[in-house]
């Protein structure tokens, strides 16, 4: 297993380099001008000089090489410096955003907590609700509970967050006035009251996003449970005199989790991408919002870096899902 993991990690290096290249070339080919949002009063020659100052005068392979160098060498050096007080990165250029002129990673570090709080929490909540729903739906197939679960999943699948988000704002913020409609990023949790406020401002975005996660994961769980409930080993467990809770929650769930864990792990990178639309609706200034603003401003280093980080996470989660698969299912051997 260890050699397998190591081999996969090594293999992911060329994969990621290729992905970086594709993202870079796509951004290179895409229309858009970092100077597009500059005032029209600035003369064209000045704009041209500003472009060159941003390094856009260099050919693409130089810029791609520099980005790789900055991403893989300078940034880690900088982190090491700030962690241990060394000075490896002295005088070296970090990846700088075209828009804010500040290091890309600093902005990402500012935005990450909001995204993790809201989107990450929604994923945890979504999965935590989905698993029991899937288990009960399968165990009581075609019961009222199962039908209700199917109905809710259908809603989760088919109603987009830009609709459900606005809907809950209209109901809970505008009509009932229970919850704030705008997420206050500057809010600090220091005591019980501020914690309660944090919970209240999180409820709506978390629920809107969790509905989608629940819809998906509960369906997978239900299908996987149904596959396993009809297996012979379930009859064996009953014939051994095991109680229904042991039969279902131990024997069947353990088997059913194998494919579902993969689905859950592969869904994780999406959290870090933020929820672009939901973050916009609730004014959460997380990574999703950052990405969309960077795209609008043709902020190539920012877009490139966020997209590439997502790619890294996807490759990593794929690897983790495969390893987990081997851990959960003794029949899988990688060596």
């Amino acid at each position: 297993m260890l050699t397998y993991t190591f081999r996969r990690l090594l293999l992911s290096i060329p994969t990621l380099l290729f992905i970086a290249f594709v993202i870079f070339m796509l951004l290179e080919l895409a229309p858009g001008d970092p100077m597009g949002q500059m005032p029209l009063t600035i003369p064209d020659e000045v704009k041209q000089r500003m472009r060159e100052a941003l390094g856009l005068g260099e050919p693409w392979y130089i810029r791609f090489g520099l980005w790789l160098y900055q991403f893989f060498v300078v940034e880690p050096q900088y982190w090491i410096d700030s962690a241990f007080g060394t000075n490896f990165a002295d005088g070296k250029q970090r990846i700088i955003s075209f828009q804010s002129r500040s290091p890309v990673f600093d902005t990402i570090a500012q935005r990450l907590p909001q995204t993790l709080w809201v989107v990450g929490m929604s994923y945890v909540v979504g999965v935590a609700i989905a698993l029991p729903i899937g288990i009960i739906s399968a165990y009581r197939q075609y019961s009222v509970f199962d039908q209700a679960g199917t109905f809710i999943s259908m809603i989760g699948f088919s109603v987009p967050p830009f609709f459900s988000g606005v809907l809950v704002i209209v109901i809970f913020s505008v009509q009932l006035g229970w919850l704030p409609s705008i997420y206050d990023t500057t809010h600090q949790v220091v005591d019980w009251e501020t914690f309660k406020f944090q919970l209240r401002q999180m409820i709506m975005p978390v629920m809107v996003l969790a509905l989608q996660t629940t819809a998906q994961v509960s369906r997978y769980m239900r299908a996987s449970m149904l596959d396993n409930l009809g297996q012979d080993y379930v009859r064996t467990a009953r014939a051994k005199g095991m109680s229904e809770s042991v039969v279902v929650l131990k024997h069947v769930v353990r088997n059913s989790m194998i494919p579902v864990v993969t689905v859950i792990a592969l869904g994780l990178p999406a959290i870090f991408g933020g929820a672009i639309i939901t973050e916009q609706i609730f004014k959460v200034n997380g990574l999703g919002q950052l990405l969309i603003l960077a795209l609008q401003g043709a902020d190539i280093p920012m877009v490139m870096t966020i997209t590439f980080l997502l790619a890294v996470l996807i490759v990593l989660m794929n690897l983790i899902a495969d390893v987990l698969y081997g851990v959960l299912d003794p029949r899988i051997r990688y060596d």
Binding site: Q231, T236, A239, S243, V246, N255, R331
Partner: protein, 334 residues
């Protein structure tokens, strides 16, 4: 011959019906039999004759719905198993009655090691500690002839061959010293040499442990080699019941005779084709009002279409559900 006066299991008038979209299916109709302590009872019949359903009905192992055990009594140790609540029934399952199923490839849980699967009933029914259960599990694996038992406890089912897995299944069934072991076609999925090994093992274990065994099969050769007494099932009913020698020497039901004819013979002139029983088993969508074997019977009489024969006594330990065995009907026809 084991003592039949005090049966350990006494089934009377068992009736199981499946509710399906196409209506009811009467899978088990008025089945009665008993089992003496230490006896090995063979149950034969073709696919769909209700053998497995009968045995699963005894312990409520059929999923309900669609299955519905409608009628009958199953007396075991002075209790009617059909009237027990689920908690008491679970104590019987795996504790006092062990089950071995047909397909060892799928009957074990693939994600747990076999040690855990053997220890599970031990800990539940005998209240053993983890350590005691592990020791007993090792003993059981040795009992069913798995070498290097201590190591093998940690192995997963996929690391065992088919025959070895069936031995593990038997070890699980035997774990709590059951009084009755129900083996539902335990050798059907295995090849012939492994089958012979498992048969030998079962005979051996029965003698050693003194439990009663119900052995379901459609292989008369297996029955001849292992059983004390046989019931033949057809169309959800017991059509003949006799000690094993008597059954082979003097079959009284036309179905049993036809079944015996289908056994290919090794000696003598080679037949061009294997003998078969013409026709199909009956579709059991209503409570039978005629003999279920009527369509395929070569000695059918007018009365067979009017009434479903009860089990008539052929001699002291032998009965058959055929009007040819009814002294009244024979006298009438003669």
């Amino acid at each position: 011959m084991p003592d039949r006066a005090q049966p350990i299991l006494d089934v009377q008038g068992l009736k199981t019906v499946f509710q399906t979209r196409g209506g009811e299916v009467h899978a088990v109709n008025n089945v009665s039999f008993d089992l003496a302590p230490g006896e090995l009872l063979g149950v034969v019949g073709e696919s769909g004759s209700g053998k497995s359903v009968t045995m699963m009905s005894l312990l409520g192992l059929l999923p309900s719905p669609p299955a519905d055990v409608r009628d009958g009594t199953v007396m075991f140790q002075g209790r009617d198993l059909l009237k027990l609540d689920l908690r008491e029934l679970r104590r019987v399952r795996g504790g006092e009655v062990g089950f071995v199923f047909q397909d060892p490839m799928t009957s074990l849980n693939p994600v747990f090691n076999v040690g855990m699967q053997i220890m599970e009933p031990l800990r539940k029914h005998m209240g053993m500690s983890k350590k005691a259960a592990a020791a007993r599990a090792q003993e059981l694996l040795e009992l069913v002839g798995i070498p290097d038992a201590k190591q093998r406890l940690l192995d997963y089912p996929h690391q065992f061959s088919g025959g070895m897995r069936q031995r593990v299944m038997i070890a699980i069934a035997l774990a709590c010293d059951p009084k009755v072991l129900i083996a539902d076609e335990p050798t059907t999925a295995l090849d012939v040499t492994i089958q012979a090994q498992i048969l030998e093992l079962m005979k051996d274990l029965r003698d050693k442990l003194g439990m009663a065994v119900i052995w379901i099969t459609h292989d008369l050769g297996v029955i001849a080699g292992i059983a004390d007494r046989v019931i033949v099932m057809y169309g959800g009913q017991v059509v003949e019941h006799a000690p094993v020698r008597e059954l082979f020497a003097n079959p009284a039901h036309p179905y049993t005779r036809a079944l015996l004819k289908t056994i290919p013979k090794i000696h003598g002139a080679r037949e061009k084709r294997l003998t078969i029983i013409e026709g199909q088993p009956p579709i059991l969508n209503a409570h039978p009002t005629a003999c279920p074997f009527l369509d395929r019977c070569d000695v059918a009489m007018p009365v067979c279409a009017r009434k479903n024969p009860q089990r008539f006594e052929v001699n002291a330990h032998h009965d058959a559900a055929c009007f040819h065995a009814d002294p009244l009907e024979v006298a009438h026809a003669g």
